[in-house]
């Protein structure tokens, strides 16, 4: 069972509201790709919206916000190492080897 931390667990009503928010963000993501006026800012907008969805699912649906901090720290190691790996792959093959 989930281990309760500082925050109480959300209720089923909260889960439905979160789902509505996630659905709305997904709709907004698709919409901005079709709006020509936003073409110059579409990439940062999409990345911010994806990050928001990521945080909402991890924090509320995976209960990382409420659970013991050890789980958050373990997951953060993976999350923080990913951009390092990302940069290493892109730098190695994109710049050094020039593939």
């Amino acid at each position: 069972m989930s281990e309760a931390g500082a925050h109480p667990h959300p209720t089923p009503r909260d889960y439905w509201i979160i789902a509505l928010i996630l659905g709305a963000i997904t709709g907004a993501e698709v919409a901005v790709t079709y709006i020509d006026a936003l073409s110059s800012v579409v990439a940062p907008l999409l990345l911010v919206m994806a990050a928001a969805k990521f945080v909402i699912v991890v924090g509320w649906y995976m209960h990382l916000r409420q659970d013991a901090p050890i789980y958050r720290r373990l997951f953060l190691i993976g999350i923080l190492l990913t951009p390092v790996l990302f940069g290493a792959v892109l730098f190695t093959f994109g710049v050094l080897i020039g593939s």
């Binding site: 069972m1 989930s2 281990e3 667990h9 089923p12 889960y15 439905w16 979160i18 789902a19 996630l22 659905g23 997904t26 993501e29 698709v30 790709t33 579409v42 990439a43 999409l46 990345l47 919206m49 994806a50 969805k53 990521f54 699912v57 991890v58 649906y61 995976m62 013991a68 050890i70 789980y71 373990l74 997951f75 953060l76 190691i77 993976g78 999350i79 190492l81 990913t82 951009p83 790996l85 990302f86 792959v89 892109l90 093959f93 994109g94 593939s99």
Partner: protein, 205 residues
Amino acid sequence: MADGATTTLEHAEHGGHHDVTRTRKIAMWVFLGSECLFFGTLISTFLLYRNRTLGGPTAHEIFDIPFTSVSSFILLMSSLTMVLAHHASDRRDWRQARIWLVATALLGMAFLSGQVFEFTEFVHEGLTVTTSPFGSSFYVLTSFHGAHVAVGVMLLLATAFMSFSGKLRTDTANEGMNVELVALYWHFVDIVWIVIFTVVYLLQV
């Protein structure tokens, strides 16, 4: 004296159960952390090769954003049914938990069907795994994600089946824990798709 010993034993068992639960959950989070690196590698490989189409179809030419958006929405809603299954299992309402587990598995299967349809369309339009580095990196990334969804569907159905047979209820060391671990895995598959949908689909069209 005997009562005291019993109380101590019960306390130790309770503590032991807590440790087992905590250890299994820690193991799952470590696994999910390592999976971030796995998918991070595949996504960076895709970004590296996304423009190398060698005369084959480009992302802009073949991606059907409205269709993939519906698939994404289906997977997103499966996270809702999953968390409702988890909530029901926490309350030991196994009937509700089963309903939501099976609903999640069905949504997962719908997502996989969409992926099979999408791949078939892409092959008909000339993008295969050997067409170009873009095709190879796209299929490897999305297929690995699809394989994770397929494993998740099997875990969901196995968990629902275990609840039918009463195993989730009788095994005190596992009370609700199996549902929680499956839920963590399923939500992870969903967040990986959130990244893939944005980086691989929306940013490339």
